[in-house]
Symmetry: C2
Subunit: 376 residues, 2 copies
Amino acid sequence: MTAQPFVFNLIKEQGAARAGTFTTPHGLIETPVFAPVGTQATVKAVSPAQLAETGATLVLANTYHLYLRPGADLVAEMGGLHQFMRWPGPMLTDSGGFQVFSLAGTRKIDDDGVTFKSHIDGTLHRFTPESSIAVQEQLGADIIMAFDECAVPDDLAYNQAALVRTHTWLDRCVAAKKRPDQALFGIVQGGIFPELRRESARYVAALDLPGNAIGGLSVGETKHQMHEMLEALDPILPRHKPRYLMGVGSPEDLVNGIMRGVDIFDCVLPTRLARHQAAFTAAGRMNLMNAGFARDSRPIEASCDCYTCRTFTRAYLRHLIVAKEMLAATLISIHNIQFLVDLVKRARQSILDDNFPSFSADFLASYKTTSHKVQT
Amino acid sequence: MTAQPFVFNLIKEQGAARAGTFTTPHGLIETPVFAPVGTQATVKAVSPAQLAETGATLVLANTYHLYLRPGADLVAEMGGLHQFMRWPGPMLTDSGGFQVFSLAGTRKIDDDGVTFKSHIDGTLHRFTPESSIAVQEQLGADIIMAFDECAVPDDLAYNQAALVRTHTWLDRCVAAKKRPDQALFGIVQGGIFPELRRESARYVAALDLPGNAIGGLSVGETKHQMHEMLEALDPILPRHKPRYLMGVGSPEDLVNGIMRGVDIFDCVLPTRLARHQAAFTAAGRMNLMNAGFARDSRPIEASCDCYTCRTFTRAYLRHLIVAKEMLAATLISIHNIQFLVDLVKRARQSILDDNFPSFSADFLASYKTTSHKVQT
């Protein structure tokens, strides 16, 4: 028996932090949750069996990439994204909008949609709210996202105009959506401008969708601005709907986001860092290429229960890196994903135990942050 | 209770083909056996857990590579090769000789040993029979190999001189070896010259080592020459010792080798082909990049029980290749290794069932061979 899909059950709140569950046709998501990113229908360097072993539940894939390659019609013909990449759990696709604005070549935005050039072969394509939904329906993820305009975050006039378009496009996405087994989330935009963000949140909330997302907060604004924005949105976004902070996921961002009422996160950071030899630890990032690890027989993190930490030494991982062996990226990716999955699980448990303030304060005090820019 | 190590139990012979077991300190090897190659203390793109799932028992690592990077002293300090790379089963190291002759830069051979330049950084190094054994004792594999001279196979005068050196070096390896938990195998050389090969086999056999190897038959001679050589050696090499044909392992070579009395094989072919998008099937090699597979919902091989074939379609594998995703190499490597492991297991079972002639004839009739050159 599967529970009614897309029901968000808010089990416990502590301050703004929340612990809950969200049901999907492919299983239950315990929230807060961190979703690793499988851009091209694979979490880079990690097999679905290895991914499942990290404890990951929700996995994201990118509509822009899959639309271009192998094509959404091909994925649909192969039984949809879950079947194609063999991820049996819940999945989420973005709308393609963010990548059109960040990756694709020369583009033309009009009120109807966006024309763009493929970053792969330069061919011309067009996304509209309707076509983004159609593509996401072909891909078949459990959670799909509204097609929005990702404006430069600190240009007020641009954000005002973009927000009008984003809201109109959201209405068109709602109207275009057909599949009952997919949940459409709206996206709050508005750049770094609190009044625009609040206006957007009110607009999105009023549509009473199964979940609400916060976009554009992973692309250049400061941590402080991100925190202020989340605090401004917390009272407006409905409590009984999951909240998804798009493209965010450093360890400190996850804890700070949970503290401010976020339920769902996704980020390429764990796998991208892994391909650059960096591992998460409770004390901060560790660059495993460091010569000091050459004869270090400890695991990355003694308290970590991932396959990599249960099995391999830092010395071995450094050897794989120096010897340019692909297994390095796989093993560090496994660790980094499980680190974030576990961190969010521990945060969830601390909320259930009425202990989140101390859990988050302890974590943030010991974790040495590193500035970074991420991009989905 | 571990059985007495390095006992070869010859269970059954059918013609020259043999089924047996060989005990090592890290477990029993059922022979014939195919050993995947973990050159730099990792079978490329495959984790030890994934490797174990293929059914592989014996794994090879390369002394030359590990001596240069990370260094045999470091591996020893980390508890030896099994512990370092976390392969719990039997392991074999070559002597480094083959790579010195095939990979390293400018070198000088004298009666005492070989001076060579690292292919990594050009630094000068020297291997002697004694130092090769010392390095292999630091690495700690179950089976270690004598240091030999790998001559150009079709130069008679060179092979005559090299053979004298190889036999003298073998004696020095036997004298230098100290660890009782390692089995030293001698290596039959002699190029393409049957009389030299027979002379070498008699010399090596007389030393009564726990196993005997046949070197230099994977580097340019024809299949026909390889078969003739194996047939010439079969009556000379002791029946009650395992025979290892070094660096050989295409599917047809395995079947032809087993037919001619070989017990142990190793080859980089399954993983190297995988990184070039080619998969083994019972009908021959399949290039998964082929556009014809774009919408093919079948596994690589319907009868294959590997993780890749149980889980993924050709369409998905082709997508991973086209999208340049690392997971492609991992998944095809898993299949190719298990294909060879299974092939050799089925050959073994057919020997036990008195059915090897029909098994091998059927396999060779349906397998479309592809010419190739391999190199360990």
